[in-house]
């Protein structure tokens, strides 16, 4: 009789202990679930992702746009061109800073593989990141493919004055903007990160309309090209 009671009692204790363990375990799971919202988006892009390649190459591209815009901002006599160059320099500096921070937040180095190589990952045969013989582009070749100015063209812009400088700036910047659009389109085709896609779309739209503005300025300033 006393054996039975003690057996029953210890079984009751066992049930209580199990119940407490279950409640504690449930609490643990609930605690984990409650932290879900406060954490970052899943799966940051990796170092060979289109997002990382876009961020790296577009920073190089934007840096030169800022350099050229600051150059013409310093010396142009045309009010419309001065405000446009202010717009380009400050707008692209902001975008460039944001792209820098993507890599910081994703824990990736600012430097990566050959320029423009990320644009080929769609396998559609666009030979963006490679020359005809399949070798990765050198930086100079990639700069040219991205519409960037060569060292000689930058030197010419720095040396020029007056209407000649204004017209050279417009010519170089139109080509520069035209080079950005295929890069933005490549990310729109290949990328998945929501904010990166948004920025790519903004670059495509913004630079397309700036090209129009610069073309009409070329006409107004009677540039020959």
């Amino acid at each position: 009789m006393s054996d039975e009671t003690s057996a029953g009692r210890s079984r009751r204790w066992l049930v209580v202990v199990i119940a407490l363990v279950l409640i504690a375990a449930l609490g643990f799971a609930v605690g984990r679930f409650s932290t879900f919202g406060s954490q970052a988006v899943a799966a940051a892009p990796g170092t060979s992702s289109p997002e990382a390649g876009f961020s790296r190459d577009m920073q190089v591209h934007h840096a030169q746009a800022i350099q050229m815009a600051m150059e013409i901002y310093r010396k142009t006599d045309d009010d419309e061109l001065r405000v446009l160059s202010y717009d380009i320099a400050t707008g692209q500096a902001g975008q460039r800073g944001e792209m820098y921070d993507w890599l910081v937040q994703w824990g990736l180095p600012q430097s990566g593989g050959p320029m423009m190589q990320w644009m080929d990952e769609d396998g559609t045969g666009h030979e963006h990141g490679a020359t005809a013989d399949g070798e990765p582009m050198t930086d100079d070749e990639a700069h040219e493919a991205m519409g960037m100015a060569s060292d000689e063209e930058i030197a010419a812009l720095e040396a020029a004055t007056g209407q000649e400088a204004d017209c050279l700036f417009l010519e170089l910047m139109i080509r520069h903007h035209e080079g950005a659009i295929p890069m933005a389109e490549a990310l729109l085709a290949l990328g998945t990160d929501a904010r990166a896609l948004e920025v790519a779309q903004a670059i495509k739209n913004g630079q397309t309309s700036e090209i129009d503005a610069m073309r009409s300025m070329q006409t107004r300033l009677a540039c020959s090209s």
Binding site: L22, L26, V30, Q39, A42, M70, G107, D139
Partner: protein, 235 residues
């Protein structure tokens, strides 16, 4: 209560049958009833035990499932802002320093050779390839903006190696220049970090660039490395 001796008569056949039973039979029947009752109780207890087992094990399974789900469906951890495998600490031979970063005029005595940081001129050196030594005070300002400065001792490094160095560097935010008074053929410097190597094809140069080129280690990593000072000898 049941009369044992003179038996009653009943019109109800069931009652009559009961009356007809002997005492022994009646006791037997009672025992049977009790047994049946006991077995019913036993079955009931067994059923309720079963219910408790089902409830208990379902709860246990649900809790275990919740824990598994809380681990399996956990989102990726928040960014740490650590530079992952590119923080430079794993590169053999990298030295790190602490330097001030004020704008000053005139020449500055730097703690490292070549300098990796410190007070500097207000005008930064434009990044690029230089064939002549560049002023420390301007080059340090470029380091502050995130540039990597590669210096070579022209007496110890061949033209082919200089060309190889130029090819290996990123096209922006790098300075390549000769530097005579160093205790190494080649030094690779970023803000507060330096690597000294003997040859241009040392693999650590690339690792150093991955770690420090435009890194968050520099005080102003998004400031320009163009539009300021072209020192003599810029290619």
């Amino acid at each position: 209560m049941t009369p044992t001796s003179d038996k009653r008569q009943s019109g109800n056949p069931a009652t009559q049958a009961k009356i007809d039973l002997t005492v022994k039979q009646q006791r037997e029947q009672k025992r049977q009833e009790k047994l049946a009752e006991y077995q019913k109780q036993l079955a009931k207890r067994r059923r309720s035990k079963l219910v408790w087992w089902i409830v208990g094990s379902t709860a246990a399974v649900l809790v275990v499932g919740a824990i598994v789900a809380s681990i399996v469906f956990a989102p990726a951890p928040a960014p740490s802002y650590a530079r992952g495998d590119s923080d430079g600490t794993g590169i053999e031979g990298v030295e790190t320093f602490t330097n001030t970063a004020n704008h000053v005029e005139g020449t500055v005595e730097y703690a490292q050779t070549p300098p990796t940081g410190g007070d500097h001129n207000a005008i930064w050196l434009n990044c690029g390839v230089y064939t002549e030594p560049v002023p420390n005070e301007n080059a340090v300002h470029a380091l502050e903006h995130g540039a990597v400065w590669v210096t070579y001792d022209p007496a110890q490094v061949s033209d082919a190696d200089i060309a190889a160095l130029a090819d290996a560097l990123p096209s922006t935010y790098t300075v390549l220049s000769p530097y005579s008074d160093m205790d190494t053929p080649i030094a690779v410097s970023a803000w507060n970090a330096q690597l000294k190597v003997d040859s241009a094809d040392d693999e650590r140069i690339e690792e150093f660039i991955k770690a420090y080129w435009r890194s968050t280690n520099a005080p102003e990593p998004n400031a320009a490395c163009t539009g300021a000072y072209d020192a003599p000898g810029k290619k």
